[in-house]
Subunit: 114 residues, 2 copies
C-alpha cells in the first residue's frame, strides 16, 4: 500500500506521496485529529473500511512516524492511537484540502432532498 518506488525517489514530494498518498491514510489522520482513539472507534467511525485494511494502514502510519500506538495489557485488550508531532503537523494540510474543495467543488448534489 506504500509505493516503494515513490518512497525511494530522490524527490521529497514524491516520497511524501509514496507515504501518505493513498485514499485511506488522509481519512484516518483526519478522523483521529488531536484526540486519542481506540481501534474499534476508528473501525466504527470510518465508513467502508475493513478491519484488515485499517490494521494495515495503522501499522504503516506508525512505521512512518505519523502516529503512536499504546497497547494496554488488559483483558479484553485496549489499544489507543494518537497522532505524533509529525502527524499533528499534517492536520493543517488536510484542513486546507477541505477548504480548497469547498471553494472549488462543483456541486452535483441536489439542492434539496425530499
Amino acid at each position: 500500500m506504500r509505493d516503494e518506488r515513490f518512497c525511494n525517489s530522490n524527490c521529497p514530494f514524491t516520497r511524501a506521496i509514496g507515504t501518505i498518498g493513498n485514499k485511506w491514510k488522509p481519512i484516518i489522520i483526519n478522523v483521529m485529529g488531536t484526540r486519542s482513539i481506540r481501534f474499534g472507534q476508528l473501525d466504527a467511525i470510518i465508513p467502508h473500511i475493513s478491519r484488515k485494511v485499517l490494521t494495515e494502514q495503522l501499522k504503516e502510519l506508525e512505521e512512518d512516524g505519523l502516529l503512536e500506538r499504546y497497547a494496554y495489557k488488559e483483558i479484553p485488550p485496549r489499544v489507543e492511537y494518537r497522532l505524533s508531532e509529525k502527524g499533528l503537523a499534517f492536520l493543517p494540510i488536510l484542513e486546507s484540502i477541505k477548504e480548497w474543495n469547498l471553494k472549488y467543488e462543483v456541486s452535483t448534489m441536489p439542492a434539496m432532498e425530499a
Copy 2:
C-alpha cells in the same frame, strides 16, 4: 481510479480525497505547475508512469475541473495541458506537503554515495 463511494460522501474532505487522493494525480499536478505542457513531455518527465495511466488520469483531472486540455488540429497532433484556476489553487497545498515532508521525514538514505 476515482473512488465513487468517497466522491458521493456527504463529507467535503472525503469527497476531495475521492477525487485527488491517489498517487498519480498529485504528482501530475505538481509536475505541471504553472506552465502549459504537452502529453509527451508529461510522459517523459514523470517516472514510471505508462501512457495508458497518464491518459486516464488526465481525463479524470479534466472532468473534475483541475486542468484544461487544448487540442490543436495539426498533423502530427499537438495537445497542451494547463491547470485551471482550481488546479492552480491546489499547488500551494502540494508545496506545504513538500515542506512537511522535508521537515519531518526521517532520512533513511545513506549520508553519502560512493
